[in-house]
C-alpha cells in the first residue's frame, strides 16, 4: 500500500516508522527542514520537504497513486485542507485526519473526510473507564444511525434502583440491552429488575445521553 503521511511531528514520525516496518511504501511530507532531516536520517529518505496543502507538493509526492493520505499536523484546518485537496484534486480513495477539537469530527465527516482520529477523545475514553460507575462511558458511536452504545452504573440514589425495566421511564430512543451484576452478564428483558450497583449497557441517542445519565445516576 502507498501511504502519504502529511506532517512529520511525533505522530507522523512514529506512524511512518510503523508503516514502513509493516512493509508499506511511505512518504512523509514535512515543511520544517530540521524535522525532515532527522526523519530522513532515522528512516531513510522518506521525506518530501514542503507544504502538504499545496497542490504542487502533493503532485510531486505522487498522491494521485496513493491508497491513503493521513494528515497528522497539529492544526485541524490544515489537516482538513490536505485531505480535501488530496480527495478532490487527486482522487485519493481514503483520507484520514487527526483532529484536536473533538467537535470537529462531525464537521470533517460532513465535508467528506473518511475518518478522523481525535487524541482528546481517545484520552477522554480512557479517563471515563477509570472512573468508578459515576459517569456514562461511551463504548461505540454508530455514526450513520446517530446512535451510541454506552455503559453506566445504577446509582443507589437513583429512582430506578429496585424497579422492573418495564416500569422504568426511559428517554426516547433508548434501550437497556445488557445488565452486568456481580460479574454475571444477562440480556435485559422487560421483567429484569434493576438494582443499585448494576452496570448497564444501553443504546441511546447523543441528545438523550444527559437524560439517561440523570435517570441512572441521580
Amino acid at each position: 500500500m502507498y501511504v502519504v503521511v502529511a506532517g512529520g511531528g511525533k505522530v507522523g514520525f512514529y506512524l511512518a516508522k510503523t508503516l514502513i516496518n509493516e512493509g508499506h511504501e511511505v512518504l512523509v511530507i514535512e515543511r520544517d527542514r530540521r524535522k525532515s532531516d532527522s526523519i530522513n536520517e532515522e528512516l531513510g529518505s522518506v521525506v518530501l520537504r514542503g507544504d502538504a496543502c499545496e497542490a504542487s507538493i502533493l503532485s510531486e509526492a505522487g498522491v494521485n497513486r496513493a491508497d491513503v493520505i493521513v494528515a497528522v499536523t497539529g492544526d485541524d484546518e490544515d489537516n482538513l485542507v490536505i485531505c480535501q485537496m488530496a480527495k478532490k484534486k487527486f482522487n485519493v480513495p481514503r483520507t484520514i485526519a487527526r483532529i484536536n477539537n473533538p467537535k470537529n469530527e462531525q464537521i470533517f465527516r460532513l465535508l467528506g473526510i473518511d475518518a478522523t482520529v481525535s487524541s482528546t477523545d481517545l484520552i477522554m475514553q480512557q479517563i471515563e473507564q477509570e472512573l468508578p460507575a459515576q459517569a456514562l462511558i461511551h463504548l461505540r458511536l454508530l455514526r450513520d444511525a446517530d446512535l451510541e452504545l454506552v455503559e453506566a452504573g445504577v446509582s443507589p440514589r437513583s429512582a430506578v434502583a429496585g424497579q422492573k425495566l418495564q416500569d422504568v421511564q426511559l428517554p426516547a430512543d433508548t434501550l437497556i440491552l445488557v445488565v452486568i451484576r456481580g460479574g454475571k452478564t444477562s440480556v435485559a428483558t422487560s421483567e429484569t429488575r434493576l438494582e443499585a450497583g448494576d452496570q448497564l449497557i444501553a443504546l441511546t441517542r447523543a441528545q438523550k445521553e444527559g437524560e439517561l445519565r440523570s435517570l441512572l445516576l441521580t
Partner: protein, 142 residues
C-alpha cells in the same frame, strides 16, 4: 443585514468599518483582541475574541442568524475551514472566502466556495497596468 467577519486584519477591519457605517449589523471575530484597535472609533458592531474554526466561537458570534460570512484571516486554511462550516453546517446564505494561494482557490471554487484571491487579482491588475507600456529597456524594441 447581519454580517459576520472572521479576521480583523487590514481587510477585515476595513470591511467592518464600511459595512458598519452603512448601517449593517456587523460582528468581527479575531483570535487576538489587539486586532480590534484597527476598527474605527465610531464602530458600533460587536467584537468576539476566539478561534474562527471553533464552532462554539461561531455560534457565540451568532452565525445561525448571519446573512453573510466573510473569512479574511491571513491563513488560507482557516478561511477555508471556517467558510465550509458557515456554509455546510450553518447554511449561511452568502459566504465569501479569501484564499491567497491561486491553486487552492481554484480547487475550492470548483467545490462551491465563493472565493477572492488577492494574489491573482494583484498580479492581473499590475499586468493590465503594464499593458501597452513598452518602457525604456533596450530589449523592448519594436
Amino acid at each position: 443585514m447581519m454580517v459576520l467577519i472572521l479576521g480583523c486584519g487590514r481587510v477585515g477591519a476595513r470591511l467592518a468599518n464600511v459595512l458598519d457605517s452603512e448601517g449593517h449589523d456587523v460582528r468581527v471575530i479575531d483570535g487576538n483582541a489587539d486586532s480590534f484597535r484597527r476598527l474605527a472609533q465610531e464602530f458600533k458592531g460587536q467584537t468576539i475574541v476566539g478561534q474562527g474554526i471553533d464552532d462554539d466561537t461561531l455560534r457565540r458570534a451568532g452565525i445561525e442568524k448571519a446573512d453573510v460570512f466573510a473569512a479574511v484571516t491571513n491563513d488560507d486554511n482557516t478561511n477555508i475551514m471556517a467558510s465550509q462550516m458557515a456554509k455546510v453546517l450553518h447554511n449561511v446564505p452568502k459566504v465569501i472566502t479569501r484564499i491567497y494561494d491561486p491553486i487552492r482557490e481554484e480547487t475550492y471554487q470548483t467545490l462551491g466556495l465563493e472565493t477572492v484571491c488577492p494574489t491573482a487579482l494583484g498580479a492581473q491588475m499590475i499586468e493590465e497596468m503594464l499593458d501597452g507600456y513598452e518602457g525604456h529597456l533596450p530589449s523592448a524594441e519594436k
